[in-house]
């Protein structure tokens, strides 16, 4: 590769070459973040439409969609697309890719070409999975439990498994890139305890990316081998153990749910101090809470298998460990409240999303305690209580944090301000729609309605109709940002370099930033949240 001449040009990364080729072969982390954002949004609305059809079907006890087969393929598609093609990559690859080098004062990630390969792997995996899902799909649920998925499933299990397998390498590449960048490319003076908490949460997420995803890769290879040759690795009739698949699958999938939530925790820890104009309460505790979540996340996967025939000793061990992993999340919530105490809170759109996040994430976390208690899990496992629990954390927590981050850094990424009033309305509508959709499901789960049911007994209908109604409000609330954010690209007024008064290095670059980020590498002297005396207007900082 020829030697790179250091680009001296001061033009922004958006207008630095407009040909399709300059976008599709870019190694600029900012452009790759934009490419990812477009593909993430596509997958989000695709998975969302599958969810809408599921809620449509559950309006009546016998199911609006005639064939149960179609319903099974719908919820499997909803699960696969949302987990692997929206939630796992969501914040790290879009906001993380864009902001990490800026926050570190670096010019790009450690391995720019690897970053582009990561996007292409993600799209290749996505294309492969979409081909399978649209040419018939599969009816195994996103968990692929054997022997159902290996011996009894009709449909394109092999093609979907290969698609997810390829997209797994995209996660490993991104995680590897982030960890090495955070270690090696920090600006002078930027010590570990001066790093913004979002960088710490990206670091913890990347540790899980790199160390959990390979186990998913080998699990999918073994599943593929079993599906093609029926040799009995997971088939008890030939001597295999179906619980082995569940152990291997959940060893990846539980840390994966922490991959999904940790960046959200980082974003909220970034937004609350800025909009409360007050230093983050207990910075070191919040930081070490993120890192300890990344480590303990690997000890707890057995709580998915309390009633699946796992041994008594293992179940009791995993129940204890599952309670330990809940403690760091509790510490974070208390520290956010500590930050709000005696602050100067401004309720811009990102802050409304952050408040929504705290409320819904706390509810999600607390219902996790229900499922970690062994005897309660016997009653609640595989019912709508579990569905409500993980939607409170994934949709109430993660998606709210994604929208919060989107609105918080939108001026920096696009150089345009979003319409404030519309954004606040969308945030409140999303909070309302979400609760109407998913709170009834807690009650349905307690009443014993099992998951993944195409038809259900009539006594559950009222709550299901309520939930479906909420889903329509939620769908409307998701469409609003799509409209006004794209609208702001063309009509939005120019964004100042630092609209919110944030102290991170990313706010010291113009909006949108140059291709090389910093003409002169900044030197860091203070911590990330040492705000000047309160009362000063943010824009004149």
């Amino acid at each position: 590769m020829s030697q790179i001449v250091l680009p001296q040009s001061q033009i922004s990364y958006l207008s630095d070459g407009v040909s399709l080729r300059s976008w599709l072969l870019t190694t600029d982390h900012k452009r790759i973040a934009i490419l990812y954002m477009i593909s993430i949004t596509f997958f989000f609305f695709l998975g969302g439409s599958a969810a809408a059809l599921i809620r449509y079907n559950l309006l009546v006890p016998q199911g609006m969609i005639q064939s149960a087969e179609t319903y099974n393929r719908l919820f499997t598609m909803h699960g696969i697309i949302m987990v692997w093609f929206f939630l796992v990559p969501a914040v790290p690859v879009t906001i993380g890719n864009f902001m990490l080098p800026l926050m570190l004062g670096a010019r790009d990630l450690a391995f720019p070409k690897l970053n582009l390969i990561s996007w292409y792997l993600f799209m290749a995996g996505g294309a492969c999975a979409l081909y399978a899902l649209f040419s018939g799909g599969i009816d195994t649920g996103w968990t692929f439990y054997t022997p159902l998925s290996s011996n009894y499933a009709q449909g394109h299990v092999a093609a979907v498994v290969i698609g997810i397998f390829i997209s797994g390498f995209s996660s490993i590449a991104t995680g590897l890139n982030f960890i090495v960048t955070i270690h090696r490319l920090r600006a002078p003076g930027l010590t570990w305890y001066r790093l913004p908490v979002f960088v710490w949460s990206l670091y913890s997420t990347s540790v899980i990316f790199v160390l959990a995803t390979p186990v998913l890769a080998i699990t999918l290879i073994l599943l593929l081998f079993e599906t093609l040759f029926h040799v009995g690795v997971f088939d008890p009739r030939l001597g295999g153990d179906p619980l082995l698949f569940q152990h291997l699958f959940w060893f990846y999938s539980h840390p994966a749910v922490y991959i999904m939530i940790l960046p959200g925790l980082g974003v909220v820890s970034e937004i609350i101090p800025v909009f409360a104009r007050k230093e983050l309460f207990g910075y070191k505790f919040v930081v070490w809470a993120s890192v300890s979540i990344a480590v303990i996340a690997f000890f707890v996967w057995g709580h998915h298998m309390f009633v699946s025939g796992q041994s008594l000793f293992a179940s009791v061990t995993f129940s204890l460990l599952s309670y330990f992993v809940a403690v760091p999340s509790a510490i974070k919530v208390f520290n956010w409240l500590g930050t709000l105490h005696k602050g100067h809170i401004r309720f811009d759109a990102p802050m409304i999303y952050a408040f929504g996040f705290i409320g819904l994430f706390t509810m999600g976390g607390l219902t996790g305690l229900f499922l970690a208690a062994l005897a309660a899990d016997v009653e609640l496992h595989d019912t709508y209580f579990v569905v409500a629990h993980f939607h409170y954390i994934m949709v109430g927590g993660m998606v709210s944090a994604y929208f919060a981050a989107l609105h918080y850094w939108w001026p920096k990424m696009t150089g345009k301000m979003y319409p404030e009033m519309l954004a606040r309305a969308a945030a409140l509508l999303m909070f309302l729609g979400f609760n109407v959709t998913f709170f009834p499901q807690f009650i349905l789960g307690y009443l014993g309605m099992p998951r993944r049911y195409h038809a259900y007994p009539p006594e559950f209908q009222v709550l299901n109709v309520l939930s479906s109604a909420g889903a329509t409000i939620l769908a409307a609330a998701y469409l609003m940002p799509l409209v006004y954010l794209t609208f702001s690209l063309f009509r939005g007024d120019r964004a100042p370099a630092n609209p919110w008064g944030g102290l991170g290095l990313e706010w010291q670059t113009p909006s949108p930033p140059f291709t090389i980020n910093f003409v002169v590498t900044p030197v860091v002297t203070k911590g990330p949240y040492e705000f000047p005396k309160p009362g000063i207007e943010p824009s004149d900082v």
């Binding site: 009739r237 030939l238 619980l243 152990h247 060893f251 000890f299 057995g302 000793f313 293992a314 061990t317």
Partner: protein, 99 residues
Amino acid sequence: MRKRHRLNLLLLLVLFCIAALEFGVSLPPVPAATRPILALPAAIMAVLVALGYMRLLDAPAIARGFAMAGIFWLAILLGLAMTDPLTRTIYAVTRQIGS
């Protein structure tokens, strides 16, 4: 440079000895319970190659950190997962499908 070559050669001989030992130990019939000791020579050889040929000691500090992380997480996967089959009291009955 000469010292490095001598070290490499010495390591090669040590590895050959351990490999030969491992091969030799496994020939006489050993009761099933003690077979996991075969993991010992393999682990020693792996560590020797990592320290000697991969020069883990003079690699940057975080590289050593990543190596330790890999081993630690592997131990979690193997250790915690094995608590289930080892303590599962009910018999996993196999039904042979005659080939």
